[in-house]
């Protein structure tokens, strides 16, 4: 009985986690990327999963706003899950490759939007320090 409950709960957890991450991405996908972030990240009109690691490295260079920390970690975990799926299950089901690529690209977009916000946050902090 406990094994059955564990399996059902783990499956539900995975499904809720994926839907939650997609809801976070969907909320950020409406925000346009500034030209500055496009220049810094080298992202053209569409984002690709290959740029994710680079955008995360740039994110780590910026002072973080405490409110966003958990969500970037959640998207990072989602990206790792997609990468794992792409290198394992997608080899058996090729249709999954296109889906994981699209999702990984959207993860990169989410990270780029977060980078945009962090740059604005740093700029505000700097402006406040100059005023003081």
């Amino acid at each position: 009985m406990a094994t059955l409950i564990f399996l059902l709960s783990a499956a539900a957890l995975l499904q809720f986690f994926i839907s939650y991450c997609r809801s976070l991405i969907a909320a950020s996908i409406k925000q346009p990327l500034s030209a500055e972030v496009r220049d810094v990240t080298g992202i053209p009109s569409t984002t690709s999963g290959e740029d994710f690691a680079r955008v995360i490295q740039l994110l780590d260079l910026c002072p973080e706003s405490p409110r966003e920390r958990g969500h970037i970690r959640a998207i990072n975990a989602y990206f790792q899950l997609l990468t794992f799926l792409r290198s394992t299950v997608a080899r058996i089901i090729p249709a999954l490759i296109a889906w994981t690529d699209m999702e990984r690209g959207q993860c990169t977009y989410f990270a780029a939007v977060a980078l945009d916000r962090r740059i604005a946050f740093s700029r505000d902090m700097l402006a406040q320090q100059i005023e003081v």
């Binding site: 094994t3 409950i5 539900a12």
Partner: protein
């Protein structure tokens, strides 16, 4: 989370969720007091911990029911949802009592542990049904969607942890690390939903389903 809800004028809109968080804060303070006063292995602390956990789980269950009422608010089924919720809560309590009655450990803490564990699983099933209803009804309120999804993650994580505890009884080292982390997820996710999203924010649920609809 309460500060975020207050600053965004969402405290009354999601009153039950905020009251749950408030009671969770008070219970945490109470547990700390009991821990300092009586020690980790004392019966007083054990009783306080398991009783408060069961009460908090019931509060969270009630908070989930208010989310049901919110999703179905235009269908005039409030009466039926409340009735079904009370019936299910009573049924879960009776089932837990039956399980404890049959076991050799007839301590009251055993009943409350069993009740919490069963309520987490019932909560998970109910959240799953609610998520299905959200997808079916094409609910678009982003804040509500994120509140439900984070509750789903919380319930399923705890139900899986309790089940794992039952599969390997006596080995709580893993749970000792994982449970506090899961405990932080819900307030963080709800705080984000209240702080970042306006009540008017909308999204299409079609792109959220794991299996494309």
């Amino acid at each position: 989370m309460i500060v975020c809800a207050l600053s965004r004028h969402s405290f009354r809109r999601y009153l039950c969720l905020n009251l749950y968080m408030l009671s969770s804060l008070l219970v945490s303070a109470g547990r700390y007091w009991a821990l300092i006063q009586y020690g980790l292995r004392s019966n007083e602390y054990k009783y306080f911990y398991f009783y408060s956990d069961a009460v908090l789980t019931i509060f969270l269950y009630l908070a989930l029911i208010t989310l049901y009422l919110r999703v179905f608010d235009e269908m005039n089924v409030e009466k039926y949802v409340r009735f079904a919720a009370v019936l299910l809560l009573a049924g879960t309590a009776l089932f837990s009592y039956g399980v404890v009655q049959q076991s050799s450990n007839k301590m009251l803490t055993g009943f409350f542990f069993e009740l919490s564990q069963n309520l987490y699983f019932v909560g998970l099933v109910l959240t799953y049904v609610l998520w299905g209803a959200i997808l079916k009804l094409r609910e678009t309120r982003t804040q509500l969607i994120q509140l439900v999804l984070s509750l789903g993650i919380y319930f399923s994580a705890f139900a899986a942890s309790f089940a794992l505890g039952n599969m390997f009884p006596g080995d709580y080292r893993f749970l000792g690390y994982v449970v506090p982390v899961f405990g932080c997820l819900l307030p963080l996710a709800w705080a984000y939903a209240f702080w970042k999203l306006t009540p008017d924010a909308r999204m299409s649920t079609a792109r959220l389903a794991v299996v494309p609809r």
